[in-house]
Symmetry: C2
Amino acid sequence: MSVLPKALNDLIYSFEGLPGVGPRTAERYAYYLVQNDKLISDKLINSLSKIHNSISFCPITFALIDSSQDISPLYADKSRDKKTIAVVSSPFDLLAIERIGTYKGTYHVLGGLVSPIDGIGPEQLHIEELIQRIDKDEVNEIILATNASVEGESTALYLNQAIGERNVKITRLARGLPIGVDLEYADQITLGRALDGRTIL
Amino acid sequence: MSVLPKALNDLIYSFEGLPGVGPRTAERYAYYLVQNDKLISDKLINSLSKIHNSISFCPITFALIDSSQDISPLYADKSRDKKTIAVVSSPFDLLAIERIGTYKGTYHVLGGLVSPIDGIGPEQLHIEELIQRIDKDEVNEIILATNASVEGESTALYLNQAIGERNVKITRLARGLPIGVDLEYADQITLGRALDGRTIL
């Protein structure tokens, strides 16, 4: 005999499918929705039902776009520099860079990072399309804006190789001390990178 | 100009309505669902759409039940001792006690805890119904299984008062050292309670 109603167990199980959601968190979400007005779960249902019909990927940059758009508005924007591409792993990394407010280039979303452990090879990422863009848009600079993780670094190395002999500057985000973090609390690798990358005052 | 498609922003906003979900977590959930097969979001939609029609509250214990049931199967079960009631705040506290596997009494779900700060007074909880049950089922023991928080303690105190002169033993869960926790890492209040509640070996 199950202690909880079947519909609740089903909902908990569905929530557990989301990344990083364990049984306790799933229970908490489910109970919140059961206890509260139907309007709240209806709103969630409504938003969920729209995503697969009204969200597409830009065929050039692979950013997420409204299905009503042909290409990403950031790429279509004439004021953005098409000769500079920031290469990111996910659309949210793009959002993070946009939030700075000063970047005027365009983006290329890889759709993941090279990770042999998860079975993700370079051919599953939008690398071929990036190479084509470099040639077509006569790109000067590729900014590798990947995470400072093992996967991020291997992807950056792979891209560096794949871009090869092309006459394009390849840069990557600076590694160093984050703003507001005390030197004594920084980890050794970060501190080492900050030392290696020291700049002239 | 929004960088993300509207449908995605809407979904992120809906997820942010869940307890403890901030913008980053909501983005992560939304992106996961966008990236993955429609089947996963359809399953979530399907589970969500059922909760308000097929889940009810037991009119006696206020546990969550299938709408097809009249009363909680735990209460209906003849082998459970109706003269012992564990009073819990939420249906998941009930689940936690059931998981021990040894409790043979019944439950009463209050539906929250007295919390003046959140505007929750005793009249919003199922306390009146608990008093009626005590009289009707000739209850011997009320186990106050509320959290060891300020709200949990005030609710326990209020219940103790409300139950009043009735000939019923009121107990509450022991406070003390959790299993597997080193004495030196226990906080002072827990350790103080463990000392006060020391038992004879």
